[in-house]
């Protein structure tokens, strides 16, 4: 899928708009951003982003990363995933990049890292398997 198609697919994904996620394209590299909004807060006292919003962002990023890597007619479905929360999500923009560890004929294994100020100090990391049965190179 091309960058323009990713933008179009994400635009039609209500959940991606709900948590305020958009793609940033630089040449052949896809970075996702979850723009800060008050309704993504989980703990207003700290304050901190909701772990679920960060988890959802990582899932959307994984799906976008997979679709960007090949031709899909359907949205890849999560099967099993693990999210490690490494530090508090501050009330600011959050970025993510997807690394496809293995793309098989039916299953893709991905690793997604999310960061805020510093790419080398991620706030959360997702490891997961997605069902990609209609994947075509």
């Amino acid at each position: 899928m091309t960058g323009a198609e990713i933008v179009r697919v994400l635009g039609k994904l209500p959940y991606a708009s709900f948590i305020n996620v958009e793609p940033i394209l630089m040449d052949e590299e896809l970075t996702m951003v979850m723009r800060y909004q008050e309704k993504n807060i989980g703990n207003p006292f700290l304050p901190a982003l909701h772990g679920g919003a960060i988890g959802g962002f990582l899932e959307v990023s994984a799906i976008a990363g997979l679709m960007f890597s090949g031709d899909y007619t359907k949205v890849p479905k999560p099967i099993g995933l693990n999210i490690g929360y490494l530090r508090r999500g501050k009330p600011q923009d959050c970025f993510a990049r997807t690394n496809i560890v293995r793309q098989g004929s039916r299953i893709a294994n991905v690793r997604v890292e999310a960061w805020q100020d510093d790419m080398d100090n991620p706030v959360a990391v997702l490891m997961g398997n997605f069902l990609t049965a209609d994947y075509k190179g």
């Binding site: 039609k12 909701h50 772990g51 693990n82």
Partner: protein, 149 residues
Amino acid sequence: MEKMWAMAPAFVEGVPHGKALGIKFVSVDRGKATMALPYSAKIIGDPATRVIHGGAITTVLDQVSGLAAVAAIVTEENILAMTGVATLDLSIDYMRPAKPGETVIATAHCYKTTHHIAFVRAIAHDGDDNDPVATSQATFMISHAGGKP
């Protein structure tokens, strides 16, 4: 536990992201909690099937697990001091898509706590808990009131 019952709805109402998703408090007991996520077009993850996004399920599982952890460690003494928990790790298995139009019910059980960590299992379903949409296993860091161990 009576105080917990009185305070628990605030754990849902006081969370902006949960509120924006429309998550509702259902019940709380010692180490246990239940919440509901009503169906909404704004959280659709696949426009072709109108199935809600896994991320919304992730959020309700995270939140209900957090409340179950708090409900496991809360005492008469620490309830007002806001002893808190923070998600350390969340593993989710998705069994099937949630049915479009149906409310998702999430129930969590905190089955073990140590001094620092709470261990919680949860299940999300849309009416029949023998036919789960997703199950999760989470660990939470426990931060003690006043920062003291």
